[in-house]
Amino acid sequence: MKRLDQGGRIDRSKPLNVSFDGQSLPAFAGDTLSSAMLAGGVSLVGRSFKYHRPRGVFSAGVEEPGAMVHLRSGDRHEPNARATVTEAFDGLVSTSQNAWPNLQFDIGAANTWLSPFFSAGFYYKTFIGPFKHSTKFWMMCETVIRKAAGMGRASLLSDPDRYEKRGAYCDVLVIGGGVAGLTAALAAGRAGAKVLLVEQDTALGGALLSDPVGGAGDAWIASVLAELQAMDSVRILTRTTAFGAYDGDTYALVERVTDHLRVPEDAQPRQRYWQVHAKRAIMATGAIERPLVFGGNDLPGVMLAGAVRTYLNRFAVLMGERAVVTTNNDSAYSVAADLARSGALVTLVDMRAEVAADTRARAEKAGVFILTGHGVLQAKGGKRLTSVDVVPVDRGSRTSGAVRVIPADVLAISGGWAPAVHLWSQRFGKPVYDAASGSFIAPEDPDKPLQPAGICAAAASLEDVITQAMRRGAEAARATGATGAPGDSPAAFDTGAFWQNDLSPNWAVFDAEGRCKGKAFVDFQHDVKVSDIDQAHLEGYVSVEHLKRYTTLGMATDQGKLANINALSRMAELRGMAIPEVGTTTFRPPFTPITMGALVGHEHGRHFRPTRLSPLHHWHAENGAQMTEAGAWMRPWYYPEKDEDLRAAYIREATHVRTHVGIIDVSTLGKIAVQGPDAAEFLNRVYVNGWKTLAIGRLRYGVMLREDGFVMDDGATARLGEHDYVMTTTTANAAKVLAFAEHLLQTAWKDLRVHVTSVTDQWAAFAIAGPKSRALLQTVSGADLSRDALPNNHWTLAQISGVPVRIHRMSYSGELAYEVYVPSGHAAHVWEALLSAGDDFELRPYGTEAMGALRIEKGHVAGPELDGRTTLKDLGLEGFASSKKPFVGSVLRKRPVLEDPERPTLVGLEIDGDTGAKAGSLLFAANEEPKGHGDGWVSSTTYSPALGRNIALALLKNGKARTGEEIRVVNFVGGEDLKARVVSPQFFDPEGDRQNG
């Protein structure tokens, strides 16, 4: 292997610092990592998956099965990178993977001697093992298999790079920037369509980039590209892979924005995920060369013929002075000729007995020695190829003569080409077999919005490619409404022969017994041999889908790009069928591996989901609140003083509310405007209690059920005007209740003239609770809030520090309490005014933990009790239900199962001792063995400052009748077993004197 002094599409004026396993590589701008490796004489790049066999560069594209490496280091470390599509850049550090202690001497290579034990399905057989009715054998194997599995090692560090996602819309998406893609884009663009042309390579031109520099192809590309670039309606993306085709004519692309740089600069993303909506798409994705199968076909030095030509002409790397090219088709002849013209001694071994005279003549003129009717029986060498055993073969690929040993540095193989129909298959299912080209293609169907063009439709000449692509481009544009003329086709020029002419179906060389000699690989990445397929067949695997899974063929990161056709060929032979009868598998996205980062985009960390903030959020944070998540909201949990922990802080805060006055931000409550002349009727239907008599200036607590009779939510609703109400919901259920209401109004109750609108953002809300709350609010607002002027469940308008507010008299804590509703843009102003004026009343903020303690003391239900499994009766709320009107859930709540007196009902628990009960603990009778689900569960728990003990709310079977009973509270997870006494859930001020005072 050597870099030629001239030629190639590399920029020799820009040398790059690139290394592999510490070895410096002679790289230039325009190189890939693999071309730099080959130029530097690196033939051993990796070790195979199962047998740890030496593997080198096999291809020059995305299908690469062997040259898989680690890239970069630290938090940018990337495993399983294909060296063939990794652009060389200054500072690129790569290392080998799947080898220990090193690539040259890999202990895992011993597996190759144990290969009889690692044949197809060995993994599944460990499930059975030698021990009857036992998984012991599998358990023993599992550790070893799991440790050995995989190739590269991923980093555990956070990815420091940015990834973007975006949408795009176009008339015609052209996938592939080779001759077909460029031509189709030209036709569609000329016709006036909005075109998006994407190419996974760094440059446009496709297979023409593998031609010698300065040929007719270069002029062709330049001419077409210049015209495309001049069109405003055409957008071109290189370094962009279309990896998925989905319903709704949606395509997923990934653009490698800065993968060719050492690190992304200037806040640029590493990769960008494109979701493209295209009215029509053209798949000009070319074809992938098929390997031939023979012993040692995985040795470093054995390569796809097209790749050998790419390295020679694009990267100026001659793979060897002594080259053998073996083929079953015409396409490899130009490879052999180019190698010979570059000074290599070339032997072309053609499995066909006859070859077209002009094809043969061209190669021989370049100096190629041609052996027809021969095949390669075995490639030989240690860690790289040294010689090739060539034998005469008959039409059935069996050896028919003596072995001839040919010394060789490189063995270029071509078994025909497989059109890259992956995207079509992802979208529409299985492709069909085309006997003429020996390949699977998309069936002709002009109605499909995704059409193949060029080589991927098995076009047999450059002229065919251009003619077909022009037609596809024009048709696609016309289908989107474009009316312009596509113009004349770009002229074709002379190329080497394509693979379809006289393609032989032979794909492997067998000995007289019908076996390949040595280890002959079909799937290089997963180490699946011909003998593995044979074994699967012997074990009865007749379905291609089963064969795939049993042998793991086609299931590696290359997804069978090289393996599928050869595997199907073997299956067909074994079953005595034709390939189409055996069938094929369906491709699924992605076409090539993509990073998780590209799929995630910005939606991770703090952008994983949007966060909802109260208008007072920054006040809480600046004043030392410890925040907690409540659904999408961030809420103040507690405000520690000095070194207080949560427990100390909430006990202090709750105690302060009971003795003085506290203020809490309850802006997170759901708030829904209910407007319209039928608003009262609407409320009557959604709530269990009656609303027809609620007067303006009043508010009422309400409970709503789901249609199945279980409690959905509760809250207070105030009547603001003749046709205006404002409903509050729990923080957790705000969106659900609004959607529920909208659904009913737009489907079942279209007769009601009612609108519901969320006003959660419009209004901030603060609860002010405690014996001094009235005095504080009267002082601040000047309003008369006396018991007579504003009794419980009434509201009034007032002003606080120049801001109009609405004050609701209601209590959630059992204290004298008010809720102040403030336009959210004034929330901070009013909050600060209250706190300022509150100094004289010892006003203190309190958080959700103290709020929880207060509501548990009072026995109010909240989220833990409204968990979707409880009924009105369970919660002691059945008295609210009106018997005079129907409401949502009124029928199904009467189901016998929900009326069962044994159902768990809400009780209070006084816990013995200093340890509080954990929520979720199970309840058992005092003399009962704690087993199973028990008699109920603890829903909410706290230390009660007012009672000076630990208390809890719980749902206990037949709870009301068990008041006074001693029970066990068992937390199986935490290993706690507590004693408790069943009491009324209203622990504090059950008569309501304080809140009604």
Partner: protein, 190 residues
């Protein structure tokens, strides 16, 4: 009169951020002059007419094209709903036939402009933002970072995004994050 505090007050730091050079995107925040929703039922055309007249508008308009009059912007958000940005108090129009709702504190307006504004928008909403599709004067209601927003194209490369105030910081942050590669100029809140 007490100032309406922007939900982005603590978030906005005027200056230049992200990629160096000329900013591709200008981000800012504007407090609405007042935002009102009117909603009606089958006779919405008739019921809304007095409001339209008072605001200098002549018709309910379409669901894509915003309307403008002196000091007023209007968006037809549903067959029986409209949204107005206006300093006028529309409460007097509230009736059995027309539900009037003050949403002036419920939304804030994030402004997004600059030569790359459309690209940034394409990264955050699943709608075609091309100039020949989303033209000046058009608006759409969509999800941005899972938050329901109204996007109004106010110029060739200028947009205003009405965002619920409690979600505003998250929406601002995701726009900022997406705009960083193009260079951002953040304007003082207006």
């Amino acid at each position: 009169m007490v100032e309406v505090r922007s939900p982005l007050r603590e978030r906005i730091t005027p200056g230049q951020f992200g990629a160096p050079g000329d900013a591709g995107v200008v981000l800012g925040n504007r407090t609405l002059a007042g935002l009102w929703q009117i909603a009606g039922w089958s006779d919405f055309d008739e019921a809304a007419d007095p409001v339209l007249q008072a605001l200098g508008l002549t018709a309910l308009g379409s669901y894509r094209q915003a309307q403008q009059a002196a000091g007023v912007r209007a968006w037809r958000t549903a067959p029986d709903r409209m949204l107005f940005e206006t300093p006028q108090d529309l409460t007097p129009f509230n009736s059995a036939a027309l539900a009037v709702l003050d949403l002036g504190h419920a939304r804030t307006c994030i402004t997004l402009s600059g030569p790359i504004a459309r690209d940034v928008l394409a990264q955050v909403i699943a709608v075609d933002t091309a100039p020949d599709v989303l033209k000046p004067g058009m608006f759409l209601q969509t999800g941005l970072h899972s938050v329901a927003v109204l996007v109004h194209c106010t110029g060739p490369d200028a947009f205003e995004i009405l965002v619920p105030v409690t979600w505003a910081e998250s929406v601002w942050d995701i726009l900022f994050e997406n705009a960083l590669p193009y260079g951002i100029a953040v304007r003082e809140a207006a």
